[in-house]
């Protein structure tokens, strides 16, 4: 936030005006976030007053009788996003390593372009692809699941195709370009001297890469968290393949629901005030969760950054650039 002093000794009124102007724009963002939070809170007063904390931990979502609990949606959002990160993180980091360290020069540009192209595909297109290609494949896998494996809660339930597994897979594909391109930038920012030093000590290529990874771990964690944030809020593609059934189930095969999906699905037809308020409170819960998770990830990044500095004496500017990635 600190504004650097200009080297020029002359400071005109324009300077001050410019500073005030840009400062005002920065302030707008803060106001907007606070405004959204406040307004979500204000418009969901009805359900906050009626259900209180029970809203967060009960499982019934019944618009007919006016009973609302957000737990299945919170569960579905977190479960699908965490699964997506488990699937996508190794792949994204693998792509980043290959593109920055191992890929032949001729392949690098087209491959980078293609990975980033994945990020440009609209989520509705992912959704359609999910329905017509991914879901049948997943259903086939579910049909092939041997009976003894079906007894494990993780794989129980009828083979529907739509459900948690399809949602997690599609989310994983959607977040890979985000995580991998940031991770690639981080790896490229690792000074060549680091690798040279590793080779000079007799390190193999793999060991040199590991040294580079360790050097850039703050930034890589930032890259993963960026993907996680994206997965939490993704709506369209997820709602098309997750089955939209509000239940808390550990099974990968079970149809479930997410917070953003229920808002997108039910908002237009929510005619009575309590129902509307419940949907807005879901928005508030999602808002709060996003803020908390972002806070935690900032904290983790800050901590790893510090550990790195303490252990390895990383020069200050790099640690800072990693944290801002």
């Amino acid at each position: 936030m600190a504004i650097r002093k200009t080297p020029s000794p002359r400071r005109s009124a324009d300077d001050r005006g410019f500073r005030l102007g840009t400062g005002f724009f920065a302030l707008l963002v803060v106001l907007l976030v606070a405004g959204i939070g406040f307004e979500l809170f204000r418009t969901s007063e009805l359900t906050i007053a009626k259900f209180g904390f029970n809203f967060w931990r009960t499982k019934t979502w019944d618009p007919v009788s006016g009973e609302f609990g957000a737990l299945p949606f919170i569960w579905g959002t977190l479960y699908s996003s965490v699964l997506a990160m488990l699937i996508s993180t190794p792949i994204a980091i693998g792509i980043a390593i290959f593109l920055s360290e191992l890929s032949p020069g001729r392949l690098r540009t087209p491959l980078t372009f293609l990975t980033e192209l994945l990020a440009a595909i609209p989520s509705i297109v992912y959704g359609l692809w999910g329905i017509f290609v991914l879901v049948p494949v997943v259903r086939h896998l579910e049909v092939l699941t041997p009976p003894w494996l079906k007894k494990v809660p993780l794989f129980s339930g009828p083979p529907l195709g739509v459900g948690m597994l399809s949602a997690a897979l599609i989310l994983a594909i959607m977040v890979i370009p985000f995580s991998s391109s940031v991770a690639r930038e981080v790896l490229r920012a690792v000074p060549a001297t680091q690798r040279e030093a590793a080779y000079a000590l007799g390190a193999t290529r793999w060991e040199a890469i590991r040294a580079a990874l360790s050097y850039g771990r703050t930034g890589i964690m930032g890259a993963v968290m960026l993907g996680f944030g994206r997965a939490l809020g993704e709506t369209m593609a997820v709602t098309m393949v997750i089955g939209n059934n509000p239940q808390v189930s550990a099974s990968l095969f079970a149809p479930q629901h997410t917070m953003s999906a229920v808002i997108a699905n039910e908002f237009t037809e929510a005619a009575d005030d309590l129902y509307l308020s419940a949907l807005i409170e879901i928005g508030l819960v999602l808002f709060v969760l996003t803020v908390v998770i972002n806070g935690i990830s900032r904290f983790l990044i800050w901590r790893t950054g510090r550990v790195v500095v303490a252990e390895e004496h990383v020069p200050e500017p790099l640690a800072a650039s990693g944290a801002s990635a």
Partner: protein, 341 residues
């Protein structure tokens, strides 16, 4: 502050709350149900050809949104697939008139491997399937209605709408009438707490799920099934006949109900009595304040509605909607006169 809330949750609503009126032209804004959107936009454009000075804008944001925007008076008229509840009428701060415009039907669609025959359903069996009580296709209840059809022992997967929808309202309204059990455990609303099954967004979402899941059953609007050439089952009506939904059999439901039409037209015509009636049928309504502030717009809108109820009905069939029966149109033209303007 209202804008902020909308910003936070939906871009659709924010897109067109109010548009500015130019000097000569009369612009009238409305919002509501998505189901009648194709016929309404056809009407508005045809009417605009006849009366170039009148331009009617319609945002198909859903029935709930339409009722809300009408009540907040951000639009001049609303449109809904389910009549307003007494509480909503009270909150409106003025008498709201419901006028049926066209009719639609909801049909059961299914995907049973190896079965090409058109299945027959009774209301009770349909309700039990949706409740998850009948969960195999070769269950005696289904087989009993369909002698001669070789049904497999496949599990039934129920596919329903994940979004709030007038289609859902009509479907569960019918099931609640024919099954006390369904009424008790699920009830009637545009979105309900489904005991089993998976949800798809929109008619296309449900149709897609049904098409891809062996053993699936779902429900879509008749128009959607006709336009996409999806085969659907017939449903037993009060007279005991198994009727396949069609433009005519849906209109027949309204004709049968018109003898007992309440003065405010807020009536459900699912499970209507009479021969040749398709039982899962419903009106869709336009909503006006009986005594609106803007008398000028009210006058124009009344003229338009009169046109839509008479001349305009001829466009219904080609778009897959069922036209209103004469008897209902007559009642409505009288009721229209009560609106001030």
């Amino acid at each position: 502050m209202k804008i902020l809330r909308i910003l936070a949750l939906t871009v659709i609503t924010a897109a067109g709350v109010v548009s500015s009126a130019s000097a000569q032209n009369m612009q009238i804004n409305g919002a509501g149900a998505t189901f009648p959107f194709p016929i309404y936009s056809k009407w508005f454009s045809e009417y605009n050809k006849l009366h170039p000075e009148v331009q009617i804008n319609y945002q198909s944001i859903g029935s709930g949104g339409g009722i809300r925007q009408l009540t907040n008076q951000t639009v001049f008229f609303g449109a809904t697939d389910g009549p307003m509840t007494p509480e909503q009428m009270q909150q409106a701060g003025g008498k709201v008139v419901h006028l049926p415009t066209v009719l639609g039907g909801v049909v059961p669609v299914y995907n049973i491997p190896g079965v090409d025959a058109q299945l027959k359903f009774s209301g009770k069996v349909l309700a039990d399937i949706i409740l998850g009580k009948v969960n195999k296709w070769n269950d005696a209840a289904i087989a009993g209605l369909n002698p001669g059809v070789k049904l497999p022992g496949t599990d039934i997967t129920v596919c329903h709408r994940s979004d709030g929808s007038g289609t859902t309202y009509i479907f569960v309204d019918y099931l609640s009438k024919v099954s006390p059990d369904f009424k008790k455990t699920v009830g009637v609303a545009t979105a309900v707490n489904w005991p089993v099954g998976v949800g798809g967004k929109g008619n296309e979402g449900v149709a897609g799920l049904v098409k891809q899941t062996p053993g699936a059953i779902g429900y879509v609007e008749l128009i959607y099934a006709i336009q996409n050439k999806i085969d659907y089952g017939s449903v037993q009506n009060v007279a005991g006949e198994f009727v396949r939904a069609s433009v005519e059999s849906v209109t027949a439901a309204a004709a049968a109900a018109s003898t007992k039409m309440p003065a405010d037209f807020r009536v459900s015509i699912t499970n209507a009595p009479g021969a040749g009636v398709y039982p899962i049928s419903s009106f869709t309504w336009l909503l006006f304040y009986e005594n609106p502030k803007d008398k000028q717009r009210s006058k124009v809108m009344k003229e338009f509605t009169r046109w839509a109820l008479t001349e305009g009905q001829k466009y219904a069939g080609e778009l897959g909607y069922s036209p209103l029966p004469e008897s209902v149109v007559k009642l409505e033209l009288t009721a229209l006169e009560r609106i001030k303007g």
